[in-house]
């Protein structure tokens, strides 16, 4: 176990800077998830920590030691790749013990060391099989086994579950979490899947265009997004945003173009506009239009069994609302929605920062 610290870390490919002076401090034993849309630089950042990518400027410390110029093999890290990257000509056991073989350990010691990892991952019966003879989930486990056997200071995961089907992904996610609870090794995990981020992380780092947008515990980010991007990225279905005007003389009310208006949780003096974010599950259906309700036309109804999601149109805005109860509405119907003002997320319309 070790801490990982990034100080002003940047990455340039030629003239293009893809990571802009990132500062991040990862605690010992922490499960940290880097999340963001594709192309945000999360994989590049992980590869810089691993040593597979050089650092253009800034400093990287692992366990308090500056490792900018230390090759990947000496950084005390293990990495699990999205494609598994298992050696096709080696059996599961040989894959897992390859690092030990390179380190000059005897065959007996190699066998001894892979035993506990194989046990934890339930690979006992598959040790003599080649990767091509394993299912996706088994390959994924062998890849994790290979990472565990090295007893690294830090685990690095690069979208390890994205090649698995939905069902298996959920199961492997739980296994990963359990594994971390057992081993308590510092872990940096990259994903574009916000559900994976929410469920696995001790802390989440949201990245956009090579810049950290926000760092914090999953629910902290969910409940208090620092800006509109974080609000929209975490949560599924995504947060609704309304760009509203604040009429003169009523600093605690915000108005839609069609005249509907919302009671704001507090007065916003000196502003003429605000972006209000409302999570789909914060919206409730009410039978009649009234003060603070939002009227919209039902476009599509999606029952998922446990929930019902409504896609609604209000002028040029689209609204998504989700309900635990089964509801009886039809496309084309006008319905009225309401939310507790305490659940509104307020953002500056221009800077998109939370206010």
């Amino acid at each position: 176990m070790a801490t990982v610290e990034l100080k002003g870390v940047s990455k340039r490919f030629g003239a293009v800077e893809v990571i802009h002076s990132v500062d991040l401090s990862i605690r010992e034993g922490e499960f940290l998830v880097l999340v963001g849309p594709s192309g945000c630089g999360k994989s590049t950042l992980l590869r810089m920590i691993s040593g597979l990518e050089t650092i253009s400027s800034g400093d990287l410390f692992i366990g308090g030691k500056r490792v900018n110029d230390v090759p990947a093999r000496d950084r005390g890290i293990s990495m699990v790749f999205q494609s598994y990257a298992l050696y096709p000509h080696m059996t599961s056991a040989q894959n897992m013990s390859f690092a030990l073989k390179l380190a000059g350990k005897s065959p007996d010691e190699q066998a001894e060391r892979i035993k506990p990892a194989a046990g934890v991952l339930g690979l006992g019966d598959y040790l003599d099989r080649f990767p091509r003879e394993l299912s996706g989930g088994q390959r994924q486990r062998v890849a994790m086994g290979r990472a565990i056997v090295r007893e690294p200071e830090v685990f690095l995961f690069d979208e390890p579950l994205s090649n698995l089907d939905a069902k298996l992904r959920v199961r492997m996610r739980a296994e990963l979490k359990e594994l971390h609870q057992k081993l308590k090794t510092t872990t940096v995990y990259v994903t574009h899947d916000q559900i994976e981020a929410m469920t696995l992380a001790d802390r989440i780092v949201v990245l956009r265009d090579g810049v950290i947008e926000q760092v914090g515990a999953p629910l902290e980010l969910y409940d208090n997004p620092a800006n509109r991007f974080v609000g929209s990225f975490l949560g599924s279905p995504a947060m609704n945003f309304f760009e509203l005007s604040i009429p003169d003389g009523t600093p605690d009310r915000a108005r839609f173009a069609d005249g509907d208006s919302l009671q704001l949780p507090r007065e916003l003096g000196g502003r003429s506009s605000v972006t209000v974010g409302v999570r789909p599950e914060s919206l409730e259906l009410v039978s009649e239009a009234g003060d603070g309700t939002i009227s919209a036309e039902v476009a599509v109804i999606e029952p998922t069994g446990s929930e019902t999601e409504l896609f609604l149109r209000k002028g040029k805005d689209q609204i998504i609302a989700s309900f635990r109860d089964r509801i009886d509405v039809r496309p084309g119907e006008i319905v009225h929605l309401e939310a507790n003002p305490a659940k509104y997320h307020l953002f500056d319309t221009t800077t998109e920062l939370a206010i």
Binding site: L52, Y87, P88
Partner: protein, 276 residues
Amino acid sequence: MIEHSRTGPVLRHAVLIGFALIVLFPFVWIVMASFKTQIALLMGQWRFAPTLFSYDSVINGKTSDFVTNFKNSSIIAIASTTIVLSVATLAAFSLYRLQWADWVLRVLLAWSVIFHMVPPITLAGAWYTMFRSVGLDNTYAGIILAHTTINLPMALWMMGVFIRDVPKELVEAAQIDGARTPKVLRYVVIPIVRPGLAATGILCFIFSWNEFPVALTLSQRATATVPLGIGKYAQENTIAYTEMAAASTLSIIPAFILLIVAQRFIVRGLTSGAVK
């Protein structure tokens, strides 16, 4: 419908068999000629009493150098193929996996193609002069060097294709597992490209084995290769057709054995399961 579905395969097979005959005929003719007497051959007999006279003359004849030619060719082909494979594999790995600037890759590959397009005979004269001045004429080393030079561009291109097929992540995984470049090559890359090595190696071996003009320029009697030995049966006054045919038939054997042995290495799908 039925008519159509029958004539289709029949026609296809007829074409294929016809094509096979065209390809095989000269080969069969040569093998048959090697078992004939010169008279039977010149009279164009299809029915004849097979004789091993030509083989005996080629292998044991007092004036025949064929056994020496065979030994020379074996040494030269094996040595040049080994050198070509080693250099091409290292070069291809370096070019495609060690982050060279793009232009380095392009210039080297383009240059090697241009070099490959130059007929070897145009270089033979220059090589002869150079090798003579450093004492490499009429030596194995000279011909091995020349064959290495001729075969390297093609081997570099072929090995490049195979090495590019090795997923980058495998190399990276090995680096993280603690391997430096030589061990990455030894334990990960080379075992995976083994079918490619076999295919490239067979081609290089056969090219070297068959190469005529450069070997003719650079060798004398002691270092002459099999094609020169075969060529010698066509003399000023007579052409010893049947001996020539026997020597030709014998010369096919090594390539034939190589193909059979290497066939089990040339298996597709070795890398399946490495990455999804």
